[in-house]
């Protein structure tokens, strides 16, 4: 136990006093994001992430949003376990044909008003996989998309900027 407490105190809070130059940008971005979320969504938005056929690269970076450096929850953005609880669907991957119905049903299960963010090059335009017997390509070929965040995969900062686009 002492080890844990010692490590917690010696680690300190990495979220705020950050040494990386990009983190000024991060903080700036977060505050703008929070202001817009406050205004438009009354304080917070709930995101349901759906992998509709991704290679798992985008998922790794979406995960990173929850690490102590980005700690995206402090800006009022949190990930929920069900589309029933969500304002926003964050969809990755080209939509594989085997996931098409699952994605449509997830979309239908999300209450209105709802927004769809297509994350990554594959979700934006089909990426390396395109349209084929196995892939529907871009997310917009299957459900309406409000914002796309390109990148292969988009970095956590790009994801935050992209979410800002949703609020704009």
């Amino acid at each position: 136990m002492l080890n844990i407490i010692k490590k917690i105190f010696t680690t300190g809070v990495v979220t705020e006093p950050v040494k990386f130059p990009t983190d000024n940008e991060l903080e700036q971005l977060g505050i703008t994001l929070k202001q817009r979320i406050d205004k438009k969504f009354n304080g917070s938005i709930a995101i349901r992430q759906v992998d509709a056929g991704s290679c798992n690269g985008c998922e790794l970076e979406i995960h990173a949003l929850n690490n102590p450096y980005y700690d995206i929850e402090r800006f009022g953005i949190h990930f929920v376990a069900s589309p029933r609880h969500a304002d926003v669907l964050l969809v990755t991957g080209p939509v594989s044909r085997h996931m098409q119905t699952a994605l449509l049903r997830t979309y239908d299960a999300t209450p209105n008003p709802k927004w769809v963010v297509a994350v990554g090059d594959c979700a934006a335009c089909g990426g390396e996989f395109g349209v084929s017997y196995a892939s529907c390509g871009a997310v917009s070929n299957v459900i309406p998309v409000d914002v796309t965040i390109p990148g292969c995969p988009p970095t956590p900062l790009a994801l935050m900027k992209g979410l800002l686009g949703l609020m704009g």
Partner: protein
Amino acid sequence: MSDTNWTNEFLALLGIAGITVEPIHVPSMVQGGQKILWQVDSDDWQRFSQYAKAQGLRWVAGWAEQVPGKGPFFVNACFEKQGLYILLRTIIGEQKPQLLTQANVYPAANRSERHTQDMFGIHFVGHEDNRRWTRHQAWDKHSHPLRKDFPVQGSPETVTPPDMDYPFIKAHGAGVYEIPVGPVHAGIIEPGHFRFQAVGELILNLEERLGYVHKGIEKIAEGRTPESLARLAGRVSGDTTVGHAWAACMAMEQAASVTIPPRAALLRGIYAERERIANHLGDMGAICNDVAFTFAQMQFTRLREVWLRTNAKVFGHRLLMDSIVPGGVANDLTHEDSNSIRQELAVLRKELSEVVNAVDLNSSLEDRLYTAGFLSQELAAAFGALGYVGRASGQHFDARHDAAYPPYDQVKVKVATENQGDIASRFWVRHKEINASLKLIEHFLQQLEPGDIVSPWQTPKSGSEGLGIVEGWRGEIVTFVRFDDHNQIARFYPRDPSQLNWPTLEKLVLNNIVPDFPVCNKSVNGSYSGNDL
């Protein structure tokens, strides 16, 4: 280096059994290490596997290919013993193609044969489980996407219906109930379906239904250039972008008789070990998180983030995508950067030991991780478990050690093992592997001499083939490539280690409680995308 004498003894045994083996000399494949190609008559396909099993060969991978223009099928199975790989091949006609199954001899071949059956329409006679596997409802059962006459666009419906009527195994009895999970899961993870039968909280049976992220990777690879294939391979499984790109490039380089410069080999080694460390850090945190030990999750994700930022700063990409190209690498390392990486190694080593000390002494974590998710050595061997899953259950194979390729042939790779077979063992193997990888990166940095980082490409002869074998962070990756005319890919088959590790999850969760499934799953952490292709 391995002792290859066993092949003579094995050939003699096969000869006595009346199995005629025709060794085929493929110059390109010999260049890349210890591999031999044997061709047998299709009638001997199953019998060969029986003798292979008796001889102690490990089943590694299986795939087929079709000769263009409604030609016959080549069916391949790859075996390994003591670091020597045997690529077994048989040729069967296009009319009613069928073979006796090897899956009743090697359980590891089960899903691979079902995949080949779906994709090529080659029937494996005597297979105990003839249900579809990769195919859901995107194409009908009489079409086979990897046949040459199947167009890449297929003829899909506007909305592909769900695969409603897949015949899952049923359980009946008082108090037995079913829990269907997925394909859309509660967390930020890939899609797949799990069907549990449980009594109370106890798991009686688990059946995996994968294939949801099948993106037609093998089909859309056909006709690509080497550069384009390297990019696609880097997206077979996004967390293994280095491993898959390396295996694909290694296979292409063999086929084209291109030797990469020593500096490129060392840089590939550095990328691969950096990828291993990044993923192991993520997994160790996630395993702790799945038993609500948030302290470790926060610490490990913090260390992972710092590590990825270095990747971005030094190599231009957080996950190192597209760093490996045919003939070498795309990103060099400056002297200053290699110094800063060296310093970072020391910092991570110290930080890791502090976090791990805190984790090691925690009794509530011990309660959850020890004895949970037990995989016996026998089952691990039967399924050919790889990487940390195998190495926590007595399967010590590591391609970097047993079938070493540059740059691992110049260093001593210490294979990390544990022997309890539980979640804790898989956790501690990862920890040991991080420390071993830190040492390897240090060695590789020391050995870096100035020089080229990419060799000029030369167009391979039509029909030339290569087999790339790389130890990815999940375990051994085996990738087959064949070229067509004009530098174009005719066949690409990447075998991710997940294909062999996924079935072990069905076994290791038995008699655990349903709430422990997430941590059992995370301790294996199979790739859905790498499995479904």
